[in-house]
């Protein structure tokens, strides 16, 4: 998904910059009066993409003609034509100045750094583990049991709603047991718990292809005291992003 939206942004930027290419020379201040016989320099610069998220990269490309001395403010002297990758932390305008025997020319390109993700509906690319865990809650089980309790149905419904709103997310359903009893039996019981939670989500409309079960038996404990409160915490089916 990430790759797709990046590609989209890149082609959008390309369209914009192509348009800009034609506009900017017109908008540029008129060149200084030409010196006798020497042709006036020209300069263009583009940034691709022209909008990035914080931490992202953009590539500057520039071309000049009839120039002997080319520089970009902030980057210093550069070749008469070339490309350079930049990683600005805030919106930055790159100012290219080309000097030649026939005068000078300049051009600018602006890289906009998006302060926050676009305010459109959230996409999978910006759902991280924490956001997922906050939205998709575990369900808890009775001692030596793997039936979804009545009090867990609300949780399952909420979990299913979230997953149905994000149909491209794949999920690991982990089954967990408290510390008591046989190692091997608890792994089998944990599988039953994971599978019970998976079936409940499927019943609530989530495609089974998106759900993978793993039993952790009593190998991973969330709470390590030897109390019933703790054991209850550990008897669960929990959901994590399948990455």
């Amino acid at each position: 998904m990430n790759r797709k939206s990046l590609a989209l942004a890149a082609s959008l930027a390309a369209v914009l910059t192509i348009a800009g290419c034609h506009k900017k020379p017109k908008a540029a201040p008129p060149p200084t009066p030409p010196a006798a016989s020497a042709p006036a320099p020209t300069a263009t610069i583009t940034a691709t993409p022209d909008t990035i998220n914080a931490g992202g990269q953009s590539t500057l490309s520039w071309q000049t003609t009839n120039a002997t001395d080319v520089s970009i403010e902030g980057l210093g002297q550069v070749a008469v034509q070339g490309t350079q990758t930049v990683q600005p932390t805030q919106t930055t305008t790159y100012h290219l100045i080309a000097h030649g025997d026939g005068g000078s020319a300049d051009a600018t390109a602006t890289v906009t750094v998006a302060a926050a993700p676009p305010p459109s509906a959230p996409t999978e690319s910006n759902i991280d583990e924490n956001a997922f865990e906050a939205a998709v809650k575990p369900v808890f089980f009775d001692y030596d049991a793997y039936d979804i309790r009545p009090d867990a149905q609300t949780t399952i419904q909420a979990d299913a709603n979230f997953l149905n709103q994000h149909p491209n997310l794949k999920v690991v359903v982990g089954g967990y047991c408290d510390e008591r009893g046989s190692t091997e039996y608890n792994l089998a019981l944990g599988e039953n718990r994971a599978n019970a939670a998976k079936q409940a989500l499927v019943t609530a409309g989530v495609s089974p292809d998106r759900l993978r079960t793993v039993s952790y038996g009593k190998e991973k404990q969330f709470c390590t005291e030897h109390t019933e409160a703790c054991w209850q915490q550990n008897r669960r089916a929990m959901f994590t992003l399948d990455q």
């Binding site: 001692y143 030596d144 049991a145 793997y146 008591r180 009893g181 046989s182 190692t183 091997e184 039996y185 792994l187 089998a188 019981l189 599988e191 039953n192 599978n195 998976k198 079936q199 993978r212 079960t213 793993v214 039993s215 952790y216 190998e219 019933e228």
Partner: protein
């Protein structure tokens, strides 16, 4: 060179052991409320009084003393752990180290306080990097023809090889006097967390020579060595869940084995090495499957809703499998034919798990908490059950959480895990619950599996 002891006597003794286990269990069945009644394999069987003389140092090489010390200690422990001997305390034996038949005065060993019926003695030498042991077993009351065993062993001089020689000599003695092969050369496979992850480890049966086999840095459990000692099957948590992995002891590395995913657990070898039983949840519900040793031709033999796990074959016939099922909620031990027919529940309640089938096919050992439940004080103990009568005997008492028992190949011993206060350690005991010995010390050690030979 080797005088054979009357075989008939051995057979009678073996028969007596089995008969006494059986009668002890019947007796216990009538007294199940009284946990502490002393029952089991040792009852009424006179243990053979045997003495082990320290071997004579027969070389000047500086390695002689350390090798002799290893040999003496190992042989003494092997005889003590064997379960059929009353080993004369070192403080009661004659203060001599006879190195050869010419140097032993049998009357001294037969007399008070030693009172030995048999005496093991011999000589150890280290020459040119080789250790050589002459070992003898003499009957102290057969003045005319006292030699029962006379053996010579040689190997490169190392602590490990010297210990191995002592084990081999002990096993000769045990087989000659006890009628069945000893266990001094056997190994115990187990899970240890001391590297920071649960990995598969192996040690000698006496807890010495611990070595880490796997380095998977995930969670590896349930090691089961093949009957020919060539491979260890175990279950391991990978990216796609639990699958059975196969470690080659010949190659010292993992070898290919089909990975089904789907929470595939708890492999168990048939005693002929041709089949594996295991638990898999490929239908979404854990059931028992059987496949070829190669992993091919897997087919399901149970179809109960709920956990089905921890299979173990009847090693005498390979026609039956015992396993743990949660089909009636709390896990119970069941047996069935190896095609899934004739299911019979063995335990009558509580929380029963981790069955291991005795080599003679007559008994199960398993972990049982008879008053398990929310709020119940957790006391989990090792039991044995006579399969024919379902009569059971409790082997451990008031000693923490005891789990994952595994029979020794001689049927006289059980190895198990025990957590008493701290972490789990591996212990062994005689199959009547006596002579409990702690084998590991620290790091979290569980799920022992005794090799087949």
């Amino acid at each position: 060179m080797i005088e054979s002891l009357p075989k008939k006597l051995d057979t009678v003794r073996l028969f007596l052991l089995v008969a006494l286990i059986a009668s002890a269990i019947v007796f216990q069945a009538q007294l199940q409320a009284q946990d502490w009644v002393r029952t089991g394999t040792g009852l009424g069987v006179q243990k053979i009084r045997i003495a082990a003389a320290d071997v004579k140092a027969a070389s000047a090489d500086p390695q002689t003393a350390p090798m002799k010390s290893v040999f003496d200690q190992t042989l003494y422990n092997d005889l003590r752990y064997a379960g059929i001997f009353d080993v004369v305390s070192k403080s009661m034996i004659p203060n001599t180290t006879p190195g050869s038949p010419q140097e032993i005065n049998l009357a001294n060993w037969a007399a008070e306080p030693s009172n030995a019926a048999y005496v093991a003695f011999g000589a150890l030498a280290v020459n040119g990097g080789r250790v050589t042991v002459q070992g003898y077993l003499y009957d102290t009351h057969a003045a005319q023809n006292p030699q029962v065993l006379g053996k010579q062993y040689a190997d490169n001089a190392s602590v490990e090889n010297t210990r191995e020689i002592a084990h081999r000599f002990a096993d000769e003695i045990i087989e000659r006097l006890g009628g069945t092969p000893g266990i001094a050369e056997t190994k115990i496979y187990y899970v240890s967390e001391r590297s920071g992850n649960k990995e598969i480890w192996v040690m000698d049966y006496d807890g010495m020579n611990e070595r880490q086999l796997t380095h998977l840095r995930t969670v590896s459990l349930s090691p089961r060595v093949s009957p020919d000692n060539s491979r260890v099957a175990f279950s391991s948590l990978g990216r796609s869940g639990w699958s059975i992995r196969m470690y080659s002891l010949d190659l010292g590395r993992l070898v290919a084995f089909p990975a089904w995913g789907d929470t595939t657990l708890s492999p168990a070898w048939s005693s002929d090495g041709t089949k594996l039983a295991f638990s898999s949840a490929r239908t979404g519900d854990p059931d028992i499957y059987v496949c070829d040793a190669s992993g091919e031709n897997a087919h399901r033999i149970t179809a109960f809703r709920g956990p089905d796990v921890s299979p173990t074959w009847n090693p005498k016939t390979n026609a039956q499998i015992a396993w743990v099922s949660g089909r009636t909620k709390l896990p119970q031990i069941y047996i069935m034919d190896s095609d899934g027919a004739n299911v019979m529940r063995m335990t009558d309640g509580g929380y029963a798990s981790a069955p291991s089938w005795s080599p003679n096919g007559q008994f199960l050992t398993f972990a049982w908490n008879r008053s398990y439940g929310p709020g119940a004080p957790g006391g989990e103990d090792i039991y044995i059950m006579n399969i024919a009568t379902k009569a059971w005997v409790q082997l451990t008492h008031d000693s923490g959480m005891n789990d994952a028992p595994s029979w020794s190949p001689d049927g006289r011993h059980i190895v198990f895990q025990r957590a008493m206060g701290g972490g789990n350690e591996i212990w062994m005991m005689l199959a009547d619950g006596t002579d409990q010995q702690q084998l590991t010390h620290g790091g979290g050690n569980t799920q022992p599996n005794w090799s087949w030979k």
